[in-house]
């Protein structure tokens, strides 16, 4: 326990790296999810097909393979990215592909009558999407985005394998220096668990906010 307190600054800096990588990847994943998710509803094949390929490729391989690919192969192609950028890019694109499926399904689940009514009211397609379809789809997406955020948090542990000093990496260092294995790994397991609980709570609050006016839902 005393050793753990001594190692607290290292673990905290690792936690910070985990949170920063997670936040960066979450922003990228959200963007990728909406772009690819909406693109797979597009009328033109030239837009739909690349989106489908992106989704299938990143869902069909594991996050670690993607990270290694970006980490080891991109430099050969002349793209030199720092490890943190590789971490954010890899995890963001990976979770973004799963998010895209959620976006596609949620937008598809909005009753077609809504779009027709929007068109009848004279809204342009972009306006109909922004003002009518997305607000309703968002409600369906939120719980699944919550689950994906927890998946993202879990996946951030993988960046320790591409030399980033995140929470998992610091725990490994602590283990190697002190050989207090159980303290090292069980502590960070609890930290990850608490972070995941926090994420779930956060999404619970968001969901309550977005449920305003939902049929059978409560009005805040």
């Amino acid at each position: 326990m005393a050793l753990l307190i001594k190692a607290a600054p290292d673990l905290l800096s690792g936690l910070l790296v985990t949170l920063l990588i997670g936040a960066g990847a979450a922003v990228l994943a959200t963007a990728a999810a909406f772009v690819a998710g909406l693109a797979s509803h597009a009328r033109s094949r030239a837009v739909r097909v690349p989106a489908r390929i992106y989704i299938e490729v990143f869902r069909g391989t594991s996050a670690l393979v993607q990270l290694y690919f970006l980490f080891y192969v991109l430099p050969l192609l002349g793209v030199l990215l720092p490890a943190w950028a590789v971490g954010i890019l890899g995890l963001g694109l990976c979770i973004g592909a799963y998010g895209a499926v959620v976006v596609t399904a949620a937008v598809g689940a909005v009753p077609p009558g809504q779009k027709e009514a929007a068109a009848a009211l004279g809204l342009r397609p972009m306006q109909a999407m922004r003002l009518v379809v997305l607000p309703q789809a968002l409600r369906v997406m939120l719980p699944q985005f919550g689950n994906l955020s927890v998946e993202l948090l879990k996946a951030t542990a993988l960046v320790s394998l591409i030399t980033l000093h995140d929470l998992t990496f610091e725990a490994q260092m602590f283990n190697q220096e002190t050989l207090h294995t159980a303290e090292a790994f069980l502590t960070i397991l609890v930290v990850y668990y608490l972070l995941a609980q926090g994420i779930m709570r956060g999404f619970g609050v968001l969901q309550a906010r977005f449920d305003v006016g939902a049929r059978g839902g409560h009005v805040l």
């Binding site: 299938e56 490729v57 869902r59 069909g60 391989t61 594991s62 670690l64 393979v65 993607q66 290694y68 690919f69 080891y72 192969v73 050969l76 192609l77 002349g78 927890v150 948090l153 879990k154 996946a155 951030t156 542990a157 993988l158 320790s160 394998l161 998992t168 725990a171 490994q172 283990n175 294995t181 159980a182 790994f185 069980l186 960070i188 397991l189 990850y192 668990y193 995941a196 609980q197 779930m200």
Partner: protein
């Protein structure tokens, strides 16, 4: 150094990658069997009559599902030997994979159970079946078509997570690809092949699951609404 793919080199490293893939598949098989068995036990535990069992298994489920597989692998790899359990890396890895995905499988079972109409249970009780009989004769046959596709997806996810085993020195596909890359100073071909193999296999498995799903819908069309 040219970034163009060297086909001869790619063919040359295929046997090594094949050996790695074999280990990935072995871990997937053991992990899958464990995930299904443990997952079913956990499913029974979260529906148990004793409150302590219910609460404990729910907590376990939430805990395992919301912590990184990699850290769980480290725990098994480093802590188990200290308490006298000396497992080979691949055994420890399969064990953790199985446990991790058992918690996801239990959730799939639970959803399948929820799709069985409540009246079915009441009728079975009225007919005088004992709880174990109800489970075996009424609930399981009806939840199977709902559960199978979900279990298939869970096992695909398990397969895709086998690269994490490289972190505890299991020489699976990704590990082999990295070693081959380091030995030859060429990462492009091994990494690309590794990605391609994972992509092909998981797409093939997913195709199988879709086929199964459409077959089951044909076998039990009234189930469609329940999903």
């Amino acid at each position: 150094m040219t970034p163009i793919i060297d086909i001869d080199f790619a063919i040359e490293i295929l046997p090594a990658l094949g050996a790695g893939l074999l280990r990935s598949l072995v871990a997937t098989c053991f992990g899958s069997v464990l995930a299904l068995l443990l997952g079913f036990l956990l499913f029974l535990a979260i529906g148990a009559r004793r409150r302590a069992i219910r609460r404990g298994s729910r907590f376990l489920l939430g805990f395992v599902r919301s912590t990184p597989l990699l850290v769980q692998l480290y725990c098994a790899y480093f802590i188990l030997p200290q308490i006298g359990l000396d497992l080979s890396p691949i055994a420890a890895g399969s064990l953790v994979l199985g446990l991790h995905y058992a918690c996801f499988a239990a959730e799939v079972f639970r959803a399948g159970r929820a799709a069985v109409p409540h009246g079915q249970l009441e009728i079975a009780t009225a007919l005088g079946l004992r709880p174990a009989q109800i489970m075996r004769l009424v609930v399981i046959p009806q939840m199977l078509p709902v559960v199978l596709p979900g279990l298939g997806n869970t096992l695909i996810a398990l397969f895709k997570e086998t690269p994490s085993l490289s972190a505890i020195t299991v020489a699976e596909l990704l590990f082999t690809a990295r070693i081959v890359g380091a030995e030859n100073f060429r990462y492009l071909e091994p990494m690309a092949l590794c990605g391609l193999i994972y992509l092909t296999l998981s797409l093939a498995f997913a195709g199988g699951v879709n086929l199964l799903e459409s077959r089951l819908q044909w076998a039990a069309p009234h189930r469609k609404a329940a999903r």
